[in-house]
Amino acid sequence: MTNTCQLRFARADYDRLHAHLFPGDHDEHGAVLLAGIAEKDGQPAFLVREIHLAKEGSDYVEGKVGYRALHPSFIHKMITRARDEKLAYLAVHNHHSDLCVGFSHIDLDSHELGYPALLQIARGMPVGALVFGQRSIQSDVWLKDGSRLSLDHARIVGQSVQMLYPSSRTSKDINDDAYERQLRMFGFDGQKRLNECHVAILGLGGIGSLVAELLARLGVGRFTLIDDDVVEVSNLSRIVGADRVDAEHAARKIDVAERVILQANPSTVVVKIADDIAKESVAKTLAATDYLFLAADSMRARLVFNAVVHQYLVPGVQLGSKVRADSEELLLDVMSANRPVRPGSGCLWCNGLIDMSSLAKEAKTEEERKEQAYGVEEPNPSVITLNAIAAAHAVNDFLLDFLELRSDAGIVQYEHFHHLSRKRMLVEPRKDETCPECSSGEGRFARGDGLNLPTLEG
């Protein structure tokens, strides 16, 4: 096995599977996972959509060759479901190892014996096996072209983002004094993980530009920047790195952000997309990223972001600030928002944060808006300090959660700062079990490339 793949779980699903495999009896247990598929830089990622725990004695029985095996009727039920749902079939069992795990010769022999037939039944969908240690996973996934995939890494996406590998990895020293002080906090492993991380920032205005600078100075190695807007004089109070010359020349916001990022770290890879986030070709680029920062204020950006999080199991955060005043311009609320969005933990759609009417309005031409009496809207107030609160908290959460510097509390909470009342509110998002966007029933959860994203053409 020379080719590799990735595996992604939502946290709650991984915890349920882990509890089944390691109940404390030091025995072997089994399950089948059905997974959506996403191609990421030529490396398939399997996105766990369904977990079917094998019942002891009926679904998981004494093996003819090995110790135990999935019962043929259970396998048949699962492989036909995988075929019908266009999902990959992944059989699971565990070994009692910890940070290093691999298949036994008996395991691999059984794959040779069984998987060619399963590939035929699956009609082109990948089939394979996963073996779990307590904190390690290995794969042997078979593709229809005859190639087999071992696991590069698995990612457990909850509040924090846990990485698992077939065996423990050691990081080389990073010889860059620029990071010397922060290395004292999260070490070479953390710095390496930041360097290998690919983030996307959607919107490079007041909040997104701050996010870009903070991430670049942390040492994030790869950015995708998406914004089709240019700098105006009225932006200069908020966009980090922008100056009068940028405004006079209508510099693209993504170019200003790139300049700031490269000042912080010249070796960073920056991909710039000066286009609408909601276009299909743009939205698809997000699937290959590791973390999303939504700092754009359009509803369609929210819709696409939310879909990518749940369809591709990419963690993200929606950021914003808002000022409300009455007709006398008396301030009613001054707010910063930091809303982490995680697969399996509620979404912007089922929390009513994607407005259908606003989506309709954004689809209209300027002329149509005038004709249909939408009126002319005054720009919303926007202040750098409010943006900075949202940006700093979101990037700090990213740092702590992506580097596993704090334990996963098991719940995701929106963080709302109401500055006039000096209150910080933690709001647990609701989760609609029938939500078309985040549920695993009829929803897009972990469907990967098997489903279209809600996008515009282009």
């Binding site: 909601a278 819709l303 259908m356 989506l359 309709a360 689809a363 009496a373 078309p436 996008t455 053409e457």
Partner: protein
């Protein structure tokens, strides 16, 4: 045209088999649609008219809003229309009456174009 938009037009044709449906691609995946004729009931003269709307490319997430009917429609009781029904609008070059009925935020389930038309007809019937 995006597949959900295409599907919604097929559903409209099934729901309103007597109407001719004209469709213009909006260039982003949505469509401008006119159904003609649509019966709006005995409380109006004429009792049937055309009905037009934009199905946005992000349908069924984006609302179908507003909806337009023929500008010659009058209430049989002689009363004038009041907001959210307004005169002096236009749709696809046709003089029109605009019916501004949003789908409620409480109805965050995915909408259907045919359902939206039925809701507008229900609204007009009860107006």
């Amino acid at each position: 045209m995006k597949p959900p938009v295409q599907t919604s037009i097929e559903e409209l044709q099934r729901q309103f088999p007597d109407a001719v449906i004209s469709v213009r691609d909006d260039g982003s995946g949505g469509a401008y649609v006119i159904l003609n004729p649509i019966a709006i009931g005995a409380r109006y003269v004429p009792t049937s008219t055309w009905m037009g709307f934009h199905i946005p490319p992000l349908y069924p997430y984006a609302d179908i809003y507003p909806v337009f009917i023929g500008s010659d429609v009058r209430r049989i009781d002689g009363q004038a229309f009041v907001p959210p029904v307004t005169h002096n609008a236009a749709f696809e070059g046709r003089p029109a009456i605009q019916v501004s009925r949003r789908s409620s935020a409480a109805q965050q389930g995915l909408q259907k174009a045919a359902t939206k038309v039925l809701k507008i007809l229900d609204f007009l019937e009860k107006l």
